[in-house]
């Protein structure tokens, strides 16, 4: 039953059931229950099928028995395991520690659980996974590895309290690029309350370096639709900027502006070849996982 799968439960409900690593395991288990195994093939230990030999193939993968019996050169193909090195770049700035309603997770809590689940999912795929946490600077970094205990290290890093200052992603993205020696995948999880030009510039550089970039834009539903607070003074917790507004009067204009801003992010990231998804904190974790996993599956 899909309704019993943890990845499809209400995020705040499942988050209340245990620590990050437990919750993340439930999420990934549930997610994988509804997912076929990766169709991608590689040169690993688990045999998959044969294919004709092509010049350039390593000779050690040639099936000599078939060559001797059928006078035909074929090579063995195996389930791929460690063919991707991914780094999750997580925004831990002060704006992420906000929620529009007590019944929901903060954007940071949601993002941390999503990052843990995503890391576990990647590791289950034999991908090397690392983590970079940042606000206005890089606060912690776990290089991508596929070895045992890597996920525990990532989860432990997620437990770091973080500085909770203003967010500045370019440095973190640059750091993530440095952590990946060969071409890999970088997943940015952030509320993107920052200067788009800096982010786009950094993403473009990563793309030039051959990395694939996926941006998961985490938003609280109250950031999509301005909450009804009457006449109020709205204050940015990071910059302390104050804007007086009558919520009833500007809600429509606000929604329109947010939609336009998201569209600008989507277009700009698409322009540099990066994937972009908007995730609200009331969406089950299965939703962003499926989107991120789909990005991963499209990679060569």
């Amino acid at each position: 039953m899909s309704t019993t799968r943890p990845d499809l439960l209400d995020p705040s409900t499942i988050a209340a059931l245990g620590r990050i690593e437990i919750v993340a395991r439930w999420i990934v288990d549930g997610f994988l229950t509804g997912l076929h195994r990766s169709p991608r093939k590689g040169f690993s230990v688990e045999f998959a099928e044969h294919r004709p030999y092509l010049p350039g193939d390593e000779l050690r993968y040639v099936d000599w028995k078939i060559a001797a019996r059928a006078d035909k050169w074929v090579v063995k193909q195996y389930e791929e395991e460690t063919n991707l090195r991914a780094t999750i770049v997580l925004d831990v700035s002060r704006s992420m520690a906000w929620r529009g309603d007590e019944s929901r997770l903060t954007k940071l809590a949601y993002a941390e659980r999503l990052a843990a689940a995503l890391a576990l999912l990647f590791l289950r795929q034999r991908d090397a996974v690392g983590l970079v946490r940042f606000d206005d600077a890089v606060r912690s970094a776990v290089p991508p590895r596929v070895r045992t205990g890597q996920w525990q290290r990532i989860v432990a890093a997620l437990d770091d309290p973080g500085a909770g200052r203003a967010s500045f992603a370019p440095v973190a993205l640059e750091q993530a690029g440095r952590l990946i020696v060969r071409r890999g995948m970088i997943v940015l999880i952030s509320d993107l309350l920052m200067d788009p030009a800096d982010v786009i510039s950094r993403v473009r550089a990563l793309r030039h370096a051959g990395h694939h970039v996926a941006v998961l834009h985490v938003m609280d539903p109250a950031e999509r639709d301005l909450p009804a607070r009457g006449d109020a003074l709205f204050v940015d917790p990071e910059s302390e900027i104050e804007v007086p507004a009558a919520s009833a009067e500007v809600r429509a204009a606000y929604r329109e502006t947010v939609d336009r801003a998201l569209g600008e992010w989507r277009d700009a990231l698409a322009g540099v070849g990066a994937a972009y998804e908007v995730i609200t904190t009331d969406a089950p974790f299965g939703v962003p996982l499926r989107r991120a996993f789909a990005v991963r599956q499209r990679l060569p």
Partner: protein
């Protein structure tokens, strides 16, 4: 133009400041809310600031409009609108049909023009209006429009001035008493200055006045005529005054017979002496050649012609009475004889008599007994000493510088009906009744200055002829339609054509037609009622329109000289539409719009 019937409610419109203040103070209230996506909010406000400001401004204006509309509706506004139709109106038309409006101008009486203007106004009234007609004699006529039009068509000029101001006041009262939203008085008048001597307060009605353009034509008129004295014995004189810009030819008649003709120049008095053969009460007239205003070309008078009264003066009356009688005999206004007795009251044994108080207080009792015996309802009181001024009663011969030093207060008996001819210290001093005249002091210098004053001889002649003669009687002057008191003893009025009208009441209305009428007692003439128009009615000078408007003190007064413009002016301003319903509808529309706009923004946000 908008009028407010309850203007105090306009104060409530000040509440419109509340939305304005809320609009101005709006951004200064509210809680402090932490919100990370402030950058989107700031951008939204920046990008939509014009739209948001416009919407807020519209909301504020709508809310202010709601308050203003409701407050204005409570003030019960009415709008004057031009065009077809008008609000139901109580319309009173004052038609000035005084004598002066019968003057001929351009071949037609001015009254024709006034009637046409009045008819135009009435015809323009709608079935929802109520219309009355008031003529210069103060008669109010109501009814349907056709009936009023008929009354206007048949309105004839009065023989006198009437009272246009009083008629206008009545008209305003009639209009104001109607339960209609609009109350108007329309005055069509020749604008004669003497008809509008002072401003008339007309209350809250709107007044429209019309007077013909231009000046009135010059007029010739007999403004005064009378017999001097009233009793000719048998000679007398006719005194007259003619108003003429240059010279005029006059004719004096007596009982239809020409008595004299002549020419008189401006400001020159007319005095014609005569000793006609007629006897008794006689009617006469002073006439001019006909001019544009015929009604004042003839003026009537009446005179009694006959032998002088026979008078006997007793020694007890004093030497001054004897001397005065001698003067009257010499002037042929009296003769010596036994008809009328002048004597101390204690000596008089028969009437008619002029009774004077006794010079000796001892005779006071005998005097009162004589009065009792003669049936005179007055008694002489105890003598009072001290100089007291004597005042002649209104209508009597003036008694200048007359004082009483010793006087006997005259005390009436119950039910006494007599005339007081003079008073001293506020008490009757000379009284008169049928066949007697009683003086409260002796005719001696130590009792009164009366016998030595110049007024004594004319007074004595007047009393002898007017009050003590066997056929004594008075001439009363009146204007057409005026109320006059019936003379004592008169039981009928003889008209010029010989008909007789009984006089059952103590007062009577003077005939509408000028002329000389005679009071009758038992079929015999006992006096005359001379009816002539007011002399002031012959002065045709007109007030200019602004002066006429100033005389009419209503809520608003407008004067016009052009007939078409006059009618147009009335119904250009007369329509008054109540604005309560439109204002409430506007408030409702504004309320719906405000709700829709506010709800629309909430729905769009939600």
């Amino acid at each position: 133009m908008i009028d407010f019937l309850s203007p105090l409610w306009l104060v409530a419109a000040a509440a419109a400041a509340v939305p304005l203040l809320l609009h101005l103070l709006r951004r200064r209230i509210g809680a402090r809310v932490e919100f990370p996506a402030v950058r989107y909010l700031a951008r939204a406000e920046r990008e939509h600031s014009r739209k948001l400001r416009l919407r807020n401004l519209l909301l504020m204006l709508l809310r202010m409009a709601i308050v203003v509309c409701i407050a204005a509706a409570a003030a019960r506004p009415v709008l004057r609108v031009s065009g077809a139709g008008h609000a139901p109106t109580a319309l009173t038309v004052v038609l000035d049909n005084s004598l002066s409006t019968s003057v001929i101008v351009s071949g037609h009486p001015v009254l024709d023009d006034l009637r046409a203007r009045a008819s135009q106004v009435v015809r323009a009234a709608s079935p929802d209006d109520r219309v009355w007609l008031v003529t210069a004699d103060g008669v109010v006529r109501g009814g349907s429009r056709s009936a009023i039009l008929d009354d206007i068509a048949h309105a004839e000029p009065l023989a006198g001035a009437g009272d246009v101001e009083d008629a206008t006041t009545r008209a305003s009262t009639v209009a104001a008493s109607a339960a209609l939203p609009e109350r108007e008085v329309v005055v069509v008048t020749d604008g004669q200055a003497t008809a509008w001597p002072e401003p008339v307060s007309l209350g809250a009605v709107t007044v429209f006045a019309y007077r013909p353009a231009g000046d009135a034509p010059p007029n010739r008129a007999v403004v005064d005529a009378g017999a001097q004295p009233v009793r000719w014995t048998p000679g007398g004189a006719i005194q007259a005054r003619v108003m003429t810009p240059d010279s005029a030819t006059y004719r004096i008649t007596l009982e239809g017979r020409t008595l004299a003709r002549g020419t008189v120049t401006r400001d020159e008095p007319v005095l014609v002496r005569a000793e006609p053969p007629e006897r008794g009460w006689t009617a006469g007239s002073v006439e001019l050649e006909p001019d544009e205003l015929r009604g004042d070309d003839v003026r009537w008078f009446a005179a009694w012609i006959g032998p002088a009264p026979a008078v006997r003066v007793a020694p007890s009356a004093g030497p001054f009475a004897s001397n005065a009688l001698e003067a009257l005999v010499e002037a042929e206004r009296a003769r010596t004889g036994g008809g009328i007795t002048i004597a101390s009251a204690d000596e008089v044994t028969s009437l008619p008599a002029l009774l004077v108080a006794p010079s000796d207080p001892v005779k006071l009792g005998a005097a009162n007994r004589a009065l009792e015996r003669l049936g005179i309802p007055w008694r002489l009181g105890a003598a009072r000493h001290g100089e007291t001024a004597v005042r002649a009663a209104s209508g009597s011969v003036p008694l200048a510088d007359v004082t009483a030093t010793v006087r006997y207060p005259l005390t009436p008996r119950a039910g006494t009906r007599s005339d007081t001819l003079a008073t001293a210290a506020g008490e009757p001093w000379i009284v008169s009744g049928p066949g007697y005249v009683l003086i409260g002091s002796a005719l001696t210098p130590d009792a009164s200055t009366f016998p030595v004053r110049a007024a004594f001889v004319p007074w004595l002649g007047d009393v002898l002829s007017q009050r003590l003669s066997a056929d004594a009687g008075t001439v009363m002057a009146a204007t057409p339609g005026a109320t006059v008191v019936r003379p004592t003893g008169a039981d009928a009025l003889e008209l010029p054509d010989g008909d007789r009208v009984p006089l059952p009441d103590d007062s009577l209305a003077a005939p509408a037609r000028p002329g000389a009428y005679f009071f009758l007692h038992g079929g015999a003439r006992t006096g005359a009622l001379v009816v002539n128009p007011e002399a002031s009615e012959s002065d045709l000078r007109r007030l200019d329109p602004s002066a006429l408007a100033a005389r009419l003190r209503g809520r608003h007064a407008t004067t016009a000289e052009d007939g078409v413009k006059f009618t147009t002016a009335i119904f250009a301003t007369a329509p008054r539409r109540p604005l309560v319903a439109p204002l409430l509808a506007a408030a409702l529309v504004a309320l719906v719009a405000e709700s829709a706009m506010a709800r629309g923004s909430r729905a769009a946000a939600g």
